[in-house]
Assembly symmetry: C2
Homo-oligomer: 495 residues x 2
């Protein structure tokens, strides 16, 4: 692959012969330096092209994670936790080189406790696998970012998605963690109790820390009973604004809607082509209601009335499980429908989340900007939360297109922050939103985050180069700026 | 006051002349060293008797907090944030001496945003004051620890209380904070957006940190629409166990009950005497239902049926707002009813929270222990969360009684931890639960907490001596063990 674009954080540290030899001795066939394996672990759903990690360790247990982290810590080499590779902001990219630590084989569901509605899983368990297992006991795990991500990855990025409007995000649904620290120590945070005020909330500190403070190896989650009744409905609108205003009214009236997704006409067109659906190609809300049969009916009636006032069409219902599954699968494939619509393209995704009262204006301004750019895009939104994405479809080698999208995102984020919103509702900071963190929380809060990072990982081995921009003179001497260094065992770069 | 008991953490650092002079110059009448004022700021609802702070600063603005913290930081003197003084585990006690920073005068409600259902308040706003103001717009702030605490104090202790079963705790209801750091810098954490994945969750880190990582000065909260219908009901049971089993079944069936409080016969007797109520003196559940009229009826019917199966009596209803207020006021006064029932007594309060499936056994064992002790006690529980309190009424000067209660609490906590519970559901660690933190989360997690504390407050000026036990050789040289030191301006101790 010829890499036209390197992220400014790219500054690989050389991996020493000794470390590779130690890992090979410890892990045997669980270690790979094959180019294809490294490439696969060096690319996520972001548009960044950076050199892959020097090696991949496939952990099969917490003990494996401990071994890998301890060896890496001894040699001060970066360790990048890897789940399903579905991160969107470059979280798993080896910008400082080092070892990708793949937890995908740690996929055991360790215990299900129906009485307390909790489950404990290894970090590599995937969302769909978990729900398949829970279904037998009449439960489900609601957090649904679309991709079939690992629970560990979802924890690390504080994922949310389509159901957060009703069930909350990973922040709300994780009770306790097992974490391997930067020194390779195993710690536990939280308990199975519903609440606690015992000491600092390390669980919440780890959730969303993107692998920079520890490697999450086990997660205890809240689970929820499968709702007695579920209905999904589509409502078409003539304008995007009418759809957004409907979602705002639904939220403000406190209807406990389980999903409230906005799709613009571009998205519907892409979805139709990709998933062979025949949805009307106009703005729509795709909704789901959970509850008792009466409760679902009540909610749906309330929403239908609001939609009608905004010029929405009568609901089209999908009450059969298969129809619902087809509809939500199509929605979840919107992203792939987008990037597969133009050969070789990648998506640059915006992710602002604003107070709901500010949503209509935020969406309208974003759409104006996007239309003016001439760059193909589509828009989807978890609008009940005030969160929406514009996905620009760019040629990743076209610097001008990339720069244009980044400018548009910058303007979008600036407007979101000005009305009390955030640069990232659910995708995290990764490599992509670093420069917004100061603007959003102020330098003082970012300094506090950096102080915590330094305290818990003084040698900066855990997923370095993420969340925080590199201070001007940082790491001087300890890394070589540019590609992987001259160490004989560091693999040659693919760029 | 003759202090028979000093907590092992008592190790006052001397306050220098220079600091007191600087504070006097900066704050004038907002500074007090009057013995009565210091005593009032040196005692909370815990049973610990320790020397009061050297002085009290009454902050009227964030700028005042900055000034006080900067001056204290310069002199390495402890600063103890003070709200309403209603903490239960000694959080506001000046165990290392220093300055009490009273935020009670910072009581402005800064903005109410009905459209987004958020409110921003200064830290000294009290819970009842806030709800009085929100009522006008048709909203309420649900978190209800009983005491009329300040929102700042509730944030600092991660408070919850009677409504957490439905509306969550402070963890779930705080969106954003303004915090003054240990160096006197003002930082902001979080935004008004419903969710975010932008960087470390400093908001959640500050919530429950008991003033040891920063002084919370402003809080943005979620508020909720006043429910259309509210009903409260009392249900009496012949045994405590039957009441507990009812609450477990209600929780496991997912009834969205708004309050589900357990009172043992002792509590009811104390409440009757204190609040002149004529409740039947047997174990009871005191419940509240929120929703649409139909929803409330549905919930109540479901719970009544469960209760009947456990031998509960027919519900006694309190549908009139005045009756409900009287009932909940009586419940909230249970604590004071207890400590006023024996002249001069103080309460030692247990606070375990266990997975709901383990609650019946935990309560039964605790009651057996309490009955065997011969020490007067009463039991209340936020049983929908698995959280309950045994309040032992002791003579604070009776070392044998105190030691006995501590042994019983230790056994209770040990059993709770063994079944996946926590030593503190809602009161925090303070001075009292320190020794359980290691057992609950393991030394590794406590080391991580200590590392964060050191990183954010290297000179240990923010509420020192709380949450963590003093390591054997810590502070050597920088403090004098015993009472306030020999500095000419340090007030003489009252003990």
């Amino acid at each position: 692959m010829s890499a036209a674009y390197h992220h400014p954080e790219v500054a690989s540290r050389p991996i020493s012969d000794a470390l590779l030899a130690e890992l090979r001795a410890a892990f045997g066939p669980q270690l790979s330096t094959a180019p294809a394996v490294r490439e696969q672990h060096g690319q996520d759903e972001s548009s960044f092209i950076v050199p892959p990690p020097a090696a991949v360790v496939f952990a099969q247990s917490t003990a494996d994670v401990v071994t890998a982290v301890r060896r890496a810590a001894w040699h001060r080499a970066p360790v990048i936790p890897f789940g399903a590779g579905s991160s969107i902001e470059g979280q798993i990219l080896a910008v400082h080189g080092g070892i990708s630590l793949d937890l995908g084989r740690m996929d055991c569901i360790l215990s299900v406790n129906p009485e307390d509605m909790t489950v404990t899983v290894q970090a590599g368990v995937r969302r769909l696998q978990l729900n398949e297992a829970l279904k037998r006991d009449g439960f489900f795990f609601p957090v649904d970012p679309g991709a079939d991500a690992t629970i560990g990855g979802m924890t690390a990025t504080r994922a949310s998605g389509t159901t957060a409007v009703r069930y909350g995000t990973m922040r709300d649904n994780v009770l306790a963690l097992e974490v391997v620290t930067a020194t390779g120590e195993v710690i536990r945070t939280g308990t199975r109790a519903k609440k606690s005020s015992a000491g600092y909330d390390l669980t919440r500190l780890m959730i969303g820390s993107e692998g920079t403070l520890g490697v999450v190896t086990e997660i205890t989650l809240r689970i929820h009973p499968l709702p007695e009744a579920v209905s999904a409905a589509i409502c078409y609108f003539d304008t995007l604004d009418a759809a957004v205003r409907t979602s705002i009214a639904v939220t403000q009236l406190g209807v406990p809607i389980a999903r409230c997704e906005l799709l613009d006409a571009n998205t519907v067109r892409l979805v139709n082509r990709h998933s062979h659906t025949d949805l009307r190609e106009s703005p729509m809300l795709l909704m789901e209601f959970h509850g008792s049969p009466d409760g679902v009916r009540e909610q749906a009636e309330a929403v239908e009335q609001i939609a009608r006032e905004e010029g929405g069409n009568a609901f089209e219902w999908a009450t059969h499980p298969e129809d619902r599954t087809r509809l939500w699968t199509a929605r979840h494939h919107a992203y792939f429908a987008g990037i597969q619509s133009i050969p070789g393209c990648r998506a640059i995704t915006t992710d602002v989340c604003v107070p709901v009262s500010q949503l209509a204006r935020a969406v309208a301004d974003a759409v104006d900007d996007a239309n003016g750019s001439g760059i193909p895009y589509f828009l989807v939104g978890h609008v009940g939360d005030g969160n929406f994405h514009i996905d620009y479809l760019i040629d990743p080698r076209d610097d001008a297109q990339r720069a244009c999208c980044e400018r548009l995102n910058e303007a979008l984020v600036e407007r979101a922050i000005a009305v009390g919103g955030t640069c990232s509702g659910e995708h995290g900071i990764g490599l992509h939103k670093m420069r917004f963190l100061d603007a959003e929380t102020g330098a003082g809060a970012v300094d506090m985050m950096r102080a915590i990072k330094r305290a818990l990982d003084p040698d900066d081995i855990l997923n370095p180069g993420k969340i925080f921009s590199r201070p001007a003179a940082a790491h001087a001497g300890s890394i070589c700026i540019g590609n992987v260094g001259s160490d004989a065992h560091s693999p040659s770069e693919a760029s």
